[in-house]
């Protein structure tokens, strides 16, 4: 039996008096491409950060490839790629410095892919030697994605990875996602507000509301209104947007 990439049971997380995650159960199988949807402030970023062990949880258990996030082995960490929401990380380094820095921290690093992506995604030589804080928001985001893809991860967690990209950038990202990531059977979890992108690449969606995953299932089935869990009153939703509004109301 293959070990599940993500397994969360009863995860709880509170900020002062506000409960953000409340007894959340979630499982993601290998090779799944799942979109995480939820209102602003529903806790998608918190969920992803708790999932990867970047934030502490107040209750419950999480297993990433069978290991607890606060004691991940080197091998497991080498299989995980994360694109956080804020893309201006290490903004005093230049792109090349930042990529070299992470290259030293990861055992496997695909130089050819990095070079190809830098070229294809418009980060030219002049930009590569300027501090990251001087790049535009879209360029920073693209760089952040390249950094996460560079070590060929088996689990890719993306937190609104394309929010600052123009349509061409988003199309490039989707192409790379399909070409280099999904084709190799990588598990992908990503949250985005751009639903058309989600409809193209995600096979499953999960809705986060009230600190729990309230609806999860095959996107096509949900759109056909034939989901396993049908939320009260939702029959034949007109589009993913309508379904989103309906479920997260």
């Amino acid at each position: 039996m293959t070990v599940l990439p993500i397994q969360m049971r009863g995860v709880a997380r509170r900020f002062d008096s506000k409960t953000v995650l409340d007894g959340l159960d979630w499982e993601v199988g290998p090779g799944q491409v799942i979109g995480l949807l939820g209102r602003n402030g529903a806790g998608k970023s918190t969920l992803m950060e708790c999932l990867l062990g970047l934030r502490e949880i107040d209750g419950g258990s999480i297993a990433l490839f069978g290991e607890s996030p606060d004691a991940l082995s080197d091998a497991t960490r080498a299989r995980i790629g994360y694109v956080p929401q804020k893309s201006d990380l290490f903004d005093w380094m230049t792109p090349l410095q930042m990529l070299d820095y992470f290259k030293a921290l990861y055992p496997r690093w695909n130089d050819a892919k990095v070079e190809a992506l830098l070229g294809r995604w418009g980060i030219d030589v002049a930009m590569r030697n300027r501090p990251i804080r001087r790049l535009s928001g879209g360029e920073q985001q693209r760089l952040s994605i390249i950094r996460a893809l560079a070590h060929d991860p088996d689990l890719l967690v993306l937190d609104e990875p394309v929010s600052a990209l123009d349509p061409a950038g988003r199309r490039d990202f989707l192409t790379e996602l399909i070409d280099g990531v999904i084709e190799r059977g990588t598990t992908v979890v990503f949250s985005t507000h751009i639903l058309t992108d989600l409809e193209r690449v995600a096979l499953d969606v999960a809705f986060l509301k009230g600190g729990r995953i309230v609806l999860e299932g095959d996107l096509d089935d949900l759109l056909d209104g034939a989901a396993g869990q049908v939320v009260n009153g939702v029959h034949q939703p007109k589009s993913l947007e309508d379904l989103f509004i309906e479920v997260t109301r």
């Binding site: 950060e49 990867l52 062990g53 970047l54 934030r55 502490e56 606060d70 004691a71 991940l72 082995s73 080197d74 091998a75 960490r77 080498a78 995980i80 994360y82 956080p84 804020k86 990380l89 290490f90 903004d91 005093w92 380094m93 230049t94 410095q97 070299d100 820095y101 992470f102 290259k103 030293a104 921290l105 990861y106 055992p107 804080r133």
Partner: protein, 469 residues
């Protein structure tokens, strides 16, 4: 109260609030208390006239310090390009407020010290220039540091001024004239501090110089040499997979000890060069001047050491993606091992900086001809500056309750405690004060370091995704 005055009050409070939420309240209580304490002390010791002078001095200097380190940085932040250009009258009000407070403080200080005229003139000039220099430095202008470094050793200057200049300065009209002359550069400086949108304003914002960010002496945009040096140290650390050094690189720019070591060494060399020049020029007072300047110059490396430890202590004030390092396979996986790596790296870095500062200070003193007593004094001062070394060893997962200024004061307080103990010991055992204080300081630091190291290793993971407030 006139709306203008109310607006000034609002701007003052808003500017101080940018620096620290309680700054205004602290200053409001501290200033009268300290002034009163100064008055009472002077009254008991000297008499009513001196008491008034001391009180006025205390009041004006506190206000001037608040103006430099509290109001100006905050006002600079308030004066964002959008506000400067679009909010009606705000920049003008800020300029007026800054100029008024500055001139009132300087006038107050001048009146309070109206004892010996010639002394006053020099001091007033020195205060005006120094305060302007500090103002520039506090708001991130590179010129500020230059002005301060230039004016620092000139405190020992009065003895050098020829007699005819003294006579001129004794003339009662001289001071007002000089003050009026210096108002113009003052106005110019203040206008530079508050630019009005445009490219220069954006460039200044980008620079984010070391003095200006009072919440953390980091995030500087360094000059070309420092950038090259940092790139080189980053390359070396990445190449050797030196995890401790890479952690520090991940924490922010300019935290590497190499930079500070270079800075200290540079200071030492500059000091020695100056002294050498003076000797070459066959200046009659060379030895005396060297001695006077020497000890002040030798304290500067210690200040750099303290700045370095303060930067390390506020390593994670501005989250900058260090949480990603938790997912990096090369870094330790569990929180205790990670914290141990961080703690030992921080400790090593601070110790190295302190060692360098001490060596430079001692070398400068010895080479400028200080005697055994002075060298011992310098060594004791170095040991008394050691307590700030414990500051970086804290629970980095939680937001620090004190900003960097308060942390520095904590370090000073520990040194003060050691001095007090040494005074007591002197009363009992008749041993010299400073060396005893130095010994106490070292012992205290060793004990506190061990304790804080252990508690840091037990703390939660030092680089969480969000501060565990």
């Amino acid at each position: 109260m006139s709306p203008r005055i109310a607006l000034y009050g609002l701007l003052w409070r808003a500017a101080l609030a940018q620096v620290h939420p309680y700054a205004h309240r602290i200053v409001l209580w501290l200033t009268p208390v300290l002034s009163l304490a100064a008055v009472v002390l002077a009254w008991k010791v000297y008499g009513p006239a001196t008491a008034a002078s001391w009180g006025a001095n205390a009041l004006c200097s506190m206000t001037l310090l608040t103006w430099t380190w509290g109001f100006l940085p905050g006002a600079f932040k308030l004066n964002s390009p959008a506000n400067a250009q679009l909010t009606p009258g705000m920049r003008a009000r800020l300029l007026e407020l800054a100029m008024t407070v500055w001139m009132l403080c300087i006038a107050g200080l001048a009146l309070a010290n109206a004892g010996s005229p010639s002394d006053v003139v020099l001091r007033v000039v020195w205060w005006m220039v120094a305060s302007l220099g500090m103002a520039l430095a506090a708001t991130g202008n590179g010129a500020g540091s230059v002005v301060i470094l230039a004016i620092w050793p000139l405190m020992g200057l009065p003895s050098v001024i020829p007699d005819w200049a003294h006579a001129m300065m004794a003339h009662p009209a001289f001071l007002p004239l000089l003050a009026a002359l210096l108002v113009a550069p003052g106005l110019l400086t203040i206008r530079t501090i508050f630019p009005r949108a445009g490219d220069r304003h954006w460039r200044q914002l980008e620079k984010r110089n070391v003095w200006r960010d009072t919440d953390g002496l980091r995030n500087r945009e360094d000059g070309r040499f420092m950038r090259w040096w940092q790139a080189r140290s980053l390359r070396r650390a990445s190449g050797r997979r030196d995890l401790g050094a890479m952690l520090l690189h991940g924490g922010g720019p300019g935290l590497q000890v190499g930079g500070i070591v270079l800075g200290i060494a540079g200071l030492g060399l500059v000091g020695l060069a100056l002294v050498g020049l003076m000797h070459l020029g066959d200046y009659s007072r060379a030895a005396e001047l060297a001695l006077e300047m020497g000890w002040m110059w030798s304290l500067l490396p210690l200040i750099l050491f303290q700045m370095h430890t303060l930067m390390l202590a506020n390593l994670t004030e501005k989250p900058a993606g260090q949480s990603l390092l938790r997912l990096a396979p090369a870094m330790p996986a569990t929180a205790p091992r990670f914290n141990r790596l961080l703690a030992s790296t921080l400790l090593r870095s601070s110790l190295l900086a302190w060692a360098m500062a001490t060596v430079t200070a001692l070398a400068c003193s010895i080479l400028t001809g200080a005697g055994g007593d002075e060298v011992l004094m310098v060594a004791s001062m170095c040991c008394l500056a050691l307590p700030t070394m414990i500051l970086p060893l804290r629970n980095h997962a939680h937001r620090s309750r004190y900003n960097s200024v308060l942390q520095w004061l904590l370090g000073l307080a520990i040194a003060g405690v050691c001095l007090l103990v040494a005074v007591v010991v002197r009363g009992v055992l008749a041993l010299p004060v400073f060396p005893i204080a130095a010994v106490f300081s070292v012992l205290l630091v060793v004990a506190m370091t061990a304790r804080r190291y252990r508690s840091m290793v037990r703390a939660p993971f030092a680089f969480p995704a969000g501060r565990l407030d």
